[in-house]
């Protein structure tokens, strides 16, 4: 025990010492994302320079929106019944008769692949006494109610009534299943309960459609789909995925390679349902003390993208290369190896950065190969709970691989132990999984009853609330 200090013991009063001071926070961001993009050797698509074009002030947000049953009822009545919402990936129902069951609060929709390859959606209830026609994803030749065998075709037309003689009131010509509007964008299927709503393209807006022109998902397949029921409001879950501010504290393992403190957070007056962030990778956070040098940041990135290059010439920074340029080089190499992607099509930012779009209220697609993600948070009737889904869409060549099965972790499954298919992302999601229920509990305790938000880094949370309030106040 010779190395042990014979003085005070841990926990004694005299054992207390002042912790080391935290790195002073700068008055302004030390750099802006547009500057990073502008000096990238392989510049990004022009849309990425369309930075924040609207401002939402610095006011607080009432915490009760995250747990009040009255507010949840308003969301259901005024918002969820009016919006285009992401129902499923179209290739999850590739064949005629494939049926996806989309559930939102107490409503349920059958999304059905038709014999001609098109898609129709129906209210999931038998017109007799209301039993759900399907309970889970399935394949059927017709839509037959398991309760009494009332039957409809895949196109919703009425086919058969049991004890027809006993339903004199029933006009079979008018006994089709009520349709729900369904439209497709980039392989994803969206439904809308509102018969008066504009079409999906107008809802998404031309700016969103323009941004995504270069990001085609026709060569992507759903490789991973993890689902977890989590003890937080759907918006609390969303919040953690539309800001990068929490990453330094909550996902500190990334601080040596990601610099979300200078990220770009975009909302646009002409695209009310859309927001975006771009968070730079391949650069250490300015908040780290000491801030790692370029060689260290590059080594960490290389270990992630191309571990076999570590220790070789390829795994070292080349003359004149900084960590970001070197990281983009090894990232592109890994995309060539893994997916056969033409490296000339992948700019530095698309190779590296965390680029996330949000289409209100439940669709969060990430366009690039660095993070080929789609997130979705779906409210449950109890506003303290929601369903959180993470999907990964990988490129393929040749024949389209089938969509993966959904890995449903229930309420207790662990992202790190039970969803290893997430790879390095599992730890990040586990860390969010730990934070979010504690956020939900703590919000109810706030003495002020208000959440305070940054102006910029949490702008997308402000935007989410603004769009939601716009629907509620209509």
């Amino acid at each position: 025990m010779e190395t042990l200090d014979g003085g005070a013991r841990v926990g004694d009063a005299e054992d207390l010492f002042d912790p080391p001071p935290l790195k002073p926070e700068p008055e302004h961001p030390p750099l802006y994302m547009r500057d990073v993009l502008a000096r990238d050797p392989f510049p990004p698509p022009a849309n990425m320079f369309e930075d924040q074009q609207a401002y939402l002030g610095s006011g607080p947000i009432p915490a009760s929106r995250y747990f009040s049953r009255d507010y949840a009822a308003l969301e259901k009545e005024k918002m969820w019944s009016k919006v285009w919402q992401f129902a499923c990936w179209g290739h999850d129902i590739p064949n005629p008769g494939d049926i996806h069951v989309y559930r939102i609060l107490d409503r349920s929709v059958l999304v059905v692949r038709q014999r001609d390859g098109s898609v129709k959606a129906f209210v999931n209830a038998c017109l007799h006494r209301g039993r759900e026609l399907c309970e889970t994803h399935t394949h059927q030749n017709e839509l037959k109610c398991p309760y009494h065998y009332f039957t409809w075709g895949l196109d919703g037309s009425h086919k058969w009534t049991p004890a027809k003689w006993d339903f004199p009131q029933l006009d079979e010509k008018k006994f089709s299943l009520p349709e729900i509007r369904v439209e497709e964008w980039n392989g994803f299927l969206f439904v809308n309960f509102d018969t008066d709503a504009p079409n999906l393209a107008s809802y998404m807006g031309s700016r969103f459609l323009d941004h995504w022109k270069g990001w085609d998902f026709s060569n992507r397949y759903k490789a991973v789909h993890v689902k977890k029921t989590i003890n937080c409001n759907w918006k609390a879950g969303m919040d953690a995925f539309i800001e990068g501010f929490h990453a330094f504290a909550s996902h500190s393992q990334g601080a040596a390679i990601s610099c979300e403190d200078i990220g770009q957070f975009d909302i646009y007056d002409d695209a009310p349902h859309m927001s975006r962030f771009i968070l730079p990778l391949g650069m250490p956070s300015f908040r780290l003390d000491p801030r790692p040098d370029d060689a260290t940041a590059f080594e960490y990135m290389c270990a992630g993208f191309l571990p076999e290059a570590l220790g070789t010439d390829e795994g070292r920074l080349q003359p004149g290369e900084d960590a970001r340029a070197g990281s983009a080089r090894v990232a592109r190499k890994s995309y060539v190896k893994k997916y056969g992607i033409d490296p000339a099509t992948v700019s530095d930012s698309e190779a590296l950065d965390a680029i996330s779009y949000f289409m209100f209220p439940n669709f969060m697609p990430w366009p690039t190969l660095a993070y080929p993600l789609v997130y979705r948070f779906t409210p449950l009737e109890d506003p303290d709970w929601c369903v959180w889904e993470t999907m990964l869409f990988h490129p393929f060549t040749g024949e389209r691989p089938p969509s993966c099965a959904v890995n449903d972790l229930g309420t207790d499954g662990s992202m790190v132990d039970d969803a290893t298919e997430l790879g390095g992302l599992a730890l990040v999601l586990h860390q969010d999984d730990v934070q979010l229920p504690a956020v939900q509990r703590g919000m109810k305790n706030l003495a002020s009853g208000e959440l305070i938000l940054t102006e910029t880094q949490e702008l997308r949370i402000r935007h989410l609330h603004k769009v939601l309030e716009d629907y509620i106040n209509r």
Binding site: M1, E2, T3, L4, D5, G7, A8, R9, V10, G11, D15, F17, P19, P20, F248, A249, S252, Q253, A255, A256, L288, P290, P292, E299, Y300, A303, G304, P307, L310, V416, G424, L427, Q431
Partner: protein, 110 residues
């Protein structure tokens, strides 16, 4: 405890984790969460230990996942959690002894 490549030797109190003892004695140690076993930034590689090291508990094992994968290994531990019971040598490049902050000059009393 000997810290390489800094080349300093410090004494820990009984039950004191490495990082805490080092900080108490003025060393700068990489960390973000400051001892909450969350960030994984304080990792060290143990290169020698007179006594067998205590096994990492669940909290430390969880946080060790945050260490970059190419650096992980059986001798890598979290300095905020590891409480050695005997002489130990660890390696961590970013540990340093900051230069003392110059004291502001005392103004003349009026």
């Amino acid at each position: 405890m000997r810290i390489e490549p800094l080349g300093e030797t410090i004494r820990l109190r009984p039950g004191e984790p490495l990082m805490r003892g080092a900080q108490r004695q003025g060393l700068s140690w990489p960390t973000i969460c400051h001892g909450q076993a969350f960030c994984g930034q304080c990792w060290v590689r143990v290169t020698d230990s007179a006594e067998p090291l205590p096994e990492p508990d669940a909290k430390e094992r969880n946080a060790l996942r945050a260490v970059p994968s190419h650096l992980q290994g059986p001798t890598v531990r979290l300095a905020c959690q590891l409480k050695p019971t005997g002489t130990i040598t660890v390696e961590r490049a970013q540990v340093s002894r900051p230069a003392p902050t110059p004291k502001p000059e005392q103004g003349q009393a009026e």
